[in-house]
Amino acid sequence: MNNKKFLAAVVGLGLVTLSACGSSDEGSKSESKTVTLVSHNSWAVSKSVLAAFEKESGYKVKVLEDGDAGQAVNKAILTKDNPQGDVFFGVDNTLLSRALDNGLFQSYEAKGAGTIKAGYRVDGDKVTPIDTGDICLNYDKAWFTEHKLKPPTSYDDLIKPAYKNLLVTENASTSSPGLGFLLGTAAKYGDDGWQDYWTKLKANGVKVVDGWEQAYNEEFSGSAGGKKAKADRPLVVSYASSPPAEVIYADPKPSTAPTGVVDGTCFRQVEYAGLLNNAKNSEGGKALLDFLLTKKFQEDMPLNMFVYPVVEGAAVPAEFTQYGPAAKDPETMDPAKIADNRDDWVKSWTSLVLK
């Protein structure tokens, strides 16, 4: 049937043209003038800030968001011989060693590395810390007032009978706040003590759901979604920046946040960026990394990604200090220790809590 051959030719041509259009997006511009940032889907920046960088440096920035944090790292590792971009942003301390062990990055010390606060500097120059965030218990203020109960203040409180059946957390094997909470308890109670703690937590009625969205929007009584869903858990594992978000994304804005942070239950996440091996535009990538440490970007970051800056002297927006000050003394853990133990811990956590 000749008509089919004809159609085949048309389709073939069509596909080729379509794909040609697709790749000409970047092909037509000079390669060296475009710098590509690969990140996870929480990446956000103000248009004007990015435009200022493009104007000053002469580079055009292309952003490629590659799924959630874990996915983005895994995809970057899969494509490391022929990377999708020049700079990767968004590998955190829980996944850092997976990225480093797989040789994802090449050395580059960003300009401004000297201004990074002492606690966040890293050995070597493969990655640059860009932001921090705290994974903390959030509580529903109205619920605790109504029930005349004081909100918990520490991990220890959570296993007391008064707080039975109040907490919802995330699956540590599929959710990064879930993993952060587990690591927080491991940092607090040590390699031997955390399992015992979780046994008690389970006995005290902790509920585990798969992701942050379900925990926060469906189960947590203090969130906008939770209120509509008549949620009944007034304690949730979320971020220190969630209470400010509840104010900023409300219309009209309330005078105080409806939720609060339990200060004694925080685990600090640090997010890093690095210059990808085999980057096609490594000069542009370097300029972009420098830009991520500028005060301009660091001060723009908090209200876009709900994280905290890492360089000295970068101002934190008033909403943050007012509605959800950063945790005073969060738990931390060395990325190397996380790397050594993560899989084993998650495995024993799973059989301990979920089975």
């Binding site: 008509n3 889907n41 952003v63 968001e65 799924g67 590792i77 022929n82 969205e213 509509k228 971020y239």
Partner: protein, 533 residues
Amino acid sequence: MAVPVAFFALFFAWPVAAIVARGLKADGSWQFGRIADVLAQSDIRHVLWFTTWQALASTALTLAVALPGAYVFARYDFPGKQILRAVVTVPFVLPTVVVGTAFLALVGRGGLLDELWGVRLDTTVWAILLAHVFFNYAVVVRTVGGLWGQLDPRQEEAARMLGASSWRAWRKVTLPALAPAVAAAALMVFLFTFTSFGVVQILGGPTFSTLEVEIYRQTSEIFDLGTAAVLTLVQFVAVGGILAVHAWTVRRRESVLRLVAPGTTARRPRRVGQWALLAGVLVTIAVLLVLPLAVLVQRSLDAPDFGYYRALTSADGGVFLVPPIEAIGNSLEYAVAATAIAVLIGGLAAAALTRRDAGRFVRGFDALLMLPLGVSAVTVGFGFLIALDEPPLDLRASWILVPLAQALVGVPFVVRTMLPVLRAVDQRLREAAAVLGASPWRVWREVDLPLVRRALLIAAGFAFAVSLGEFGATVFIARPDNPTLPVAVARLLGRAGDLNYGQAMALSTILMVVCAVALLVLERLRTDRTGEF
């Protein structure tokens, strides 16, 4: 034939093979021992067992709930029937990320069941089963009901005249005619529930895991590509088996049946029993299908003066660089491109499959085209990344990747819609035209096209709706400056704050309305034989 084969080889078989190979190959040699290792793990065997039995249970429950619906839609006339038929199809094309949330409002705390009887089903297997009924109701109604409406009722009446009891007449006459359609529908539901992802993830909580969820976890979170590859192969074999049986039942169904135009067999219900049946079906639809959708709408309106909808038009620079409302435009553009690809590829495949000299190989290709419905999006997505990474096919950063991935899911629907219609075209018409001197192109234009135009439109419409709702593959490759509707919804749900949640509900409602309108238009285009979707 060459084009669809090339398309599938390039955009499906190759990427999937590449990622499976990456998982099973270490230091240059194949590690087939991994297969036995993985399957020996008790966790994995538990996943396999759960995947199978929940799919069986979901299929049985869906048939039990939806078969009366199929009968009512086929045989009864009632006001609003067309609209309702579109409405019950909406869940099927909506992304689970949207509806899972709303479905919780039905079976979760404070939901209808909770208010009435204090029953909460969230994170139980019942929530999963009911959600599977919700999503697959339309598959049964459209597949079985479509055929049921075309069975000549006079055959059953004749049996009655000859003295058969009504039960016996139904069992001996209607049931055998219907059985292949029921089997085909059951197999499709089994396929969709066997590979269920979003429903199990959102409603099942962390204790339930299907093969598909496990593949996602191993690939995306644990980064154990070896285990993921083994599981992908297992799923491949299972899905291949299901599809082979499905292709066989479909061929049996397309054999000898005396069919009449669908409109002629439906009449108004008469006796009390018939009214009761109709009422029962309508109540089921209202509670199980419409209510979760209504919850979405209600939550989207939960701010004064359509506040959430108005918020969609402003760019906050936070979650998006562009106002979320632009996601609608993006979605429509992608869906149009995906539909064009799906119709071309699917149309060509269907044409090749109808050729009289189509051999065993070509008929096998029929089932092969359905495979993308049963292979996990994460596998395809990761496969795209490592397979399509070199010029001239470095498509990883190209916008065309999204419509391509969506078309993969759309093609099976096009093929299934076009095939029965094309097979019904009398070959002699084509031959006559050719004898009279028409060029092949002209034969196609003058003979085939007028006959299949409506089916083509329906196929296009369905591919369009499916593309709009496609989430799994799109979320992997959509670019931040132009997110699709489902991607935008997922991103809004990933943020704390009233306005984000409300906007997610508003966008979901818009997506739902767009899908419903597309499906409603299709209802008006229904032809006598429009395949099983």
